[in-house]
């Protein structure tokens, strides 16, 4: 059993690197990656985008959530090579031109964060929701962030922040 694991390991680490082209926060990225590397590690270790966090590495906590082709995904469960050709947005890509986005401002205003470790993932799940549903109900917001664990806030201010951001974004869209 141990020997088999070792062999698998060798195979992984000596496997030839593969080409990855994708768009991260609007910028074209091209890199040679280990086919076993997760998208999370690619973002953090290769691109040095440390905003995206790892809370469990098993897809259970949501701290590593990023948006890939419009969908919120746990980047710890996605291989980097699966992101070939994809558009990826991380927390670093939320603001525009040095300004915070409405969603980020509402998180601040509603005190929707304490330790802040779940916040990037929480923001990305909320962003993905508002992109596909600009007028969500409270239940839809809770559903959208149900995969993002937060131990500090009790979620209430997060839900309020997302609902408030939705309203402000709709108003901004109309004006």
């Amino acid at each position: 059993m141990r020997e088999m694991e070792s062999r698998m390991f060798e195979m992984e680490s000596t496997a030839p690197r593969v080409q990855l082209n994708c768009i991260v926060n609007g910028e074209a990225v091209s890199a040679m990656v280990d086919p076993a590397m997760t998208l999370l590690n690619f973002l953090r270790k290769e691109l040095k985008l440390f905003g995206t966090k790892e809370g469990c590495g098993e897809g259970e906590c949501g701290a590593c959530t990023v948006i890939m082709n419009g969908l919120a995904v746990n980047s710890c469960l996605v291989l980097a090579v699966e992101a070939g050709g994809a558009r990826i947005t991380t927390v670093e890509g939320l603001g525009a031109g040095g300004d915070l986005s409405i969603l980020q401002r509402e998180f601040m205003k509603h005190d929707a964060l304490q330790c802040g470790f779940c916040t990037p993932g929480m923001l990305m799940s909320a962003r993905a929701l508002l992109d596909r549903n600009p007028d969500p109900t409270m239940e839809e917001v809770k559903e959208a962030i149900a995969g993002n664990l937060c131990r500090c806030t009790g979620y209430v201010p997060i839900v309020e922040a997302v609902l408030s951001a939705a309203r402000l974004e709709r108003e901004a869209g109309r004006s």
Binding site: C61, A63, G154, V156
Partner: protein, 819 residues
């Protein structure tokens, strides 16, 4: 939001200073840090709860390319501990819990380190394990066979010779026999709760860089206790505090689990073994559950004597803590229970025994509430159980015994008019949820038929910081040439918002805009002033006072220079709007900015110099507890109460919280929004303990649920429909602007209040946590069984009926009530 017009900054719902960094992803945690030449560590764990280590062969691991060091307990003759010096860095000679660290590897990357682990061969000889409080008390097997030789803090903790008792602390007040003799009714119960994990989203992580030529070491760590880490590393390795630097950037949650010392010593010895290259040790989520410490499990046995009209005459309590393999903070949790473990009530005669027991399970430490959630699970359920037996409204029963001005606590402290008001808190939540007493059996039956049973509950709480009598903190302020103030604190902000409220306090005293007060959001033991550690809900109170004194020192220094510059006595100067000015001739004024680095007269002559102020605060007037638990341990008591309304699906047993009202006498809310954030967050964390969380072990002591899959915490879908935070403000005269601590309190008594509401809904009493759907549904099924017919008579209370019902255990457990 209500704002006090009297204050410019204090009380205002300011946005936290760290919010911008945290919504942009710019906030860096130790989790994110990479240093040049950094190596990565992985740890091998014991598969046995209790076993001898016969041999370890690490040669193959050491030979693996990329591996820089492999360490075992053999090479590390150090023992660590806060109160009992009992814990090796890596297991030596034997393992004491499944999950204990046995060997560690440092390698060029995590994958190589992981592979090296698989090459380490360990031979164990399993030993019989101690897996319950009863087995621990029997002491047929000793977790620490060398308990008689262990070093410990004497006079404060009381380990038992040749036993598994890490410490036996007690309170003895009044005359227990007389107290029970005066009672019309004696009610006895036993309640338990399991181990629970803290679950910070950032797992424990430390990086150490040890200078190979000297004793110097720099440690970056996700901790609540930079100065305690410095202190404990110095003690463990026999090196000077001068040589140790501890750096703490943003911390991704602590909840008590990052107090004290954890992965830092391992990172340090690995770095030493790797010729001083920095080594990063980060716990996986599984290690966070299974290697790092937890909240202890506990069994409480409680016996209360009451008169017919509801006055408590006596209480006898045994808290037996399932403390796991090492004492860590567990023994101090046990000690704190001796002065607060009977709840916020006046008990004339009491004997309270709190025994922290060694068992072969993952060890226990501080967890938000420091034992009070656990003790209040026992006593706040007992208050309802006694009220049921008395046929009295539990609200009325509590009010008859509640601590008030003039009451004496169980440790002999006199409560006064400025101690805060637990009765105000209870009143507030009862009003908010519309409490009118238990519903009748007929009402219960009617609701039961609809498939949704509803109930309401109430519970009280109190807690004071558990800390040494000489606990101290300090603050430093410096002015720059624009008149900005930099504030350096010893505290760590792990999300509770301490940097924000300390900025508000400083700006208030200095009467200047909040934007010009910069609180440094990082802790560095070489630069920041000392603070004991960020625990115990003590910092708003102590740090607030230190910051006030520091700001006053700053003003005094500004006035001294201004007095010479303006040629007028200091006594005739005052301050406001960033200026020092004459009390009568207000145009005789100098701005902070003009004075900040020294003042220059028109001819070039200069006086003064860069202004640096300091302020400190030490807990004064506290005394150590004597052998009977008598003394003054409490700097400030924060009182609180919860009220809930719940709905239970009688088919699935699922509990939904419709409304939760939580009131705390905070004295003065320094930032209303952050206070409410603590209350809501703590309430939901408490609901985790009430409804879903808890460790499960196999019969041979292996943890069954070391992952989020099986050890769930509340998600956004599990929160109450409505949470109403209530801030009661009866000022604490010696608190900063009247404030008291609040960080831990919202969690306390949440399980109790939910179980009290479950009784109201179903007429079933529960004695074990969590109140999972499975547990509730099974109890409903047993309760509705025709074999138990006639059990719905409330006068029959809970004795023979509910014990097996609710707990699923045998009626033989010594929990039966006697009148």
């Amino acid at each position: 939001m209500m704002v006090d017009p009297y204050y410019r900054h204090v009380g205002r719902p300011e946005i936290r200073v760290d919010a911008r960094d945290k919504v942009t992803g710019r906030a860096l945690y130790v989790h994110d840090l990479e240093l040049p030449g950094m190596l990565y560590a992985r740890v091998l764990h014991s598969p046995h709860a209790h076993a001898e280590i016969v041999s370890i062969d690490k040669s193959a691991a050491e030979a693996l390319p990329g591996v820089k060091a492999v360490l075992t307990g053999q090479e590390l003759p150090y023992l660590l501990g806060l109160y009992m010096i009992d814990k090796p860095i890596l297991a030596r000679r034997k393992v004491r819990y499944q999950g204990e660290s046995v060997a560690a590897v440092a390698a060029v990357d995590e994958r190589t380190a992981e592979k090296a682990l698989s090459l380490i061969r360990v031979e164990y000889r399993p030993l019989p394990a101690v897996l319950s409080v009863d087995e621990a008390l029997e002491a047929r097997v000793l977790v620490h066979e060398d308990i008689n030789e262990l070093d410990y803090v004497k006079g404060v903790f009381f380990p038992g010779p040749d036993s598994n008792i890490a410490s036996w602390n007690r309170t003895i007040k009044g005359d227990l026999r007389k107290g029970f003799a005066a009672a019309d009714l004696v009610v006895e119960n036993e309640l338990t709760l399991p181990q629970v994990a803290h679950v910070p989203l950032e797992t424990h992580v430390a990086i150490a860089q040890a200078d190979p030529y000297t004793d110097r070491v720099t440690i970056w760590t996700s901790t609540q206790s930079p100065f305690a880490v410095r202190n404990l590393v110095a003690r463990a390795f026999g090196v000077s505090r001068r040589d140790i630097t501890v750096m703490v950037p943003y911390v991704g949650g602590g909840f008590g689990g990052k107090a004290g010392i954890h992965l830092e010593p391992l990172a340090m010895v690995l770095s030493r073994a790797c010729k001083g290259r920095p080594v990063k040790v980060q716990a996986t989520r599984e290690e966070e559950f299974n290697q790092l410490p937890v909240r202890a499990g506990m069994r409480g046995r409680v016996k209360t004597g009451v008169t017919k009209d509801g006055k408590i005459t006596a209480m006898e309590i045994y808290f037996d803590w399932d403390g796991g393999a090492y004492a860590d903070y567990g023994v101090n949790v046990g000690r704190a229970a001796t002065y607060s473990g009977a709840g916020p009530y006046e008990i004339p005669n009491i004997e309270l025994h709190s025994r922290t027991l060694y068992t072969n399970k993952v060890y226990s430490t501080a967890y938000r509430g420091f034992g009070h959630l656990e003790t209040h699970w026992i006593v706040e359920r007992q208050m309802d159980l006694v009220a049921q037996r008395l046929g009295m409204d539990p609200y009325e029963f509590r009010m008859k015994n509640i601590l008030r001005d003039g009451s004496i606590t169980i440790s002999g402290e006199r409560i006064n008019a400025w101690s805060g008001r637990v009765d105000h808190c209870l009143e507030a939540v009862a009003r908010e949820i519309g409490w009118t007493g238990y519903r009748s059996e007929a009402e219960r039956q009617a609701a039961f038929q609809t498939g949704k049973a509803r109930g309401k509950g109430i519970a009280c709480l109190h807690k004071a910081p558990a800390m040494p009598t000489n606990t101290a903190t300090a603050a430093i302020m410096q002015l720059d040439e624009e008149g900005n103030v930099r504030v350096l604190l010893g505290a760590v902000d792990m999300g509770q918002g301490v940097y924000t409220i300390m900025g508000q306090v400083a700006a208030e005293i200095l009467d200047m805009p909040l934007e010009k007060v910069k609180v440094i959001c990082e802790s560095n033991t070489d630069a920041n002033p000392y603070d004991w550690q960020t625990v115990a809900s003590k910092y708003a109170f102590m740090g607030g006072n230190a910051v006030i004194r520091c700001a006053e020192d700053l003003l005094r220094q500004l006035k001294e220079v201004a007095s010479r510059a303006l040629h007028c006595p200091v006594e005739e100067l005052t301050h406001g709007e960033e200026k020092i000015y004459h009390i009568q001739h207000r145009d005789k004024a100098l701005t902070y900015r003009q004075l900040a680095l020294g003042y220059a007269f028109g001819n070039g002559n200069a006086i003064g110099g860069p202004i640096i102020a300091h302020g400190h605060y030490i807990a004064e007037g506290l005394t150590n507890l004597d052998a009977d638990g008598q003394g003054l341990p409490a700097l400030d008591w924060t009182y609180g109460a919860h009220g809930v309304e719940i709905e239970i699906d009688v088919e699935t047993g699922e509990i939904r919280v419709l409304k939760m009202a939580s009131a705390f006498d905070v004295g003065k809310a320094l930032n209303r929004k952050l206070c409410e954030g603590q209350i809501i967050g703590g309430a939901v964390q408490g609901l985790g303990s009430a409804l879903v969380e808890g460790y499960k072990f196999t019969p041979d002591g292996r943890l069954l649920n070391p992952s989020f899959t099986d050890n769930k915490i509340p998600t956004a879908k599990d929160i109450p429909d409505q949470i109403v935070p209530i801030l009661v403000e009866n000022p604490q005269v010696d608190g900063p602007f009247g404030a008291r601590g609040l960080g831990e309190h919202p969690m306390i008594s949440v399980p109790s209040v939910v179980a009290n509401a479950v009784y109201d809904a179903l007429g079933i009493n529960f004695y074990e946590l969590p109140l999972s759907p499975e547990r509730v549904a099974l109890a409903i099924a047993r309760h509705s069984d025709p074999a138990n017919a006639g059990c719905n008579d409330p006068s029959n209370a809970s004795a023979g009926r509910d014990n097996p019902d609710a707990s699923g255990r045998h009626a033989a457990s010594p929990r039966g009530e006697t009148a």
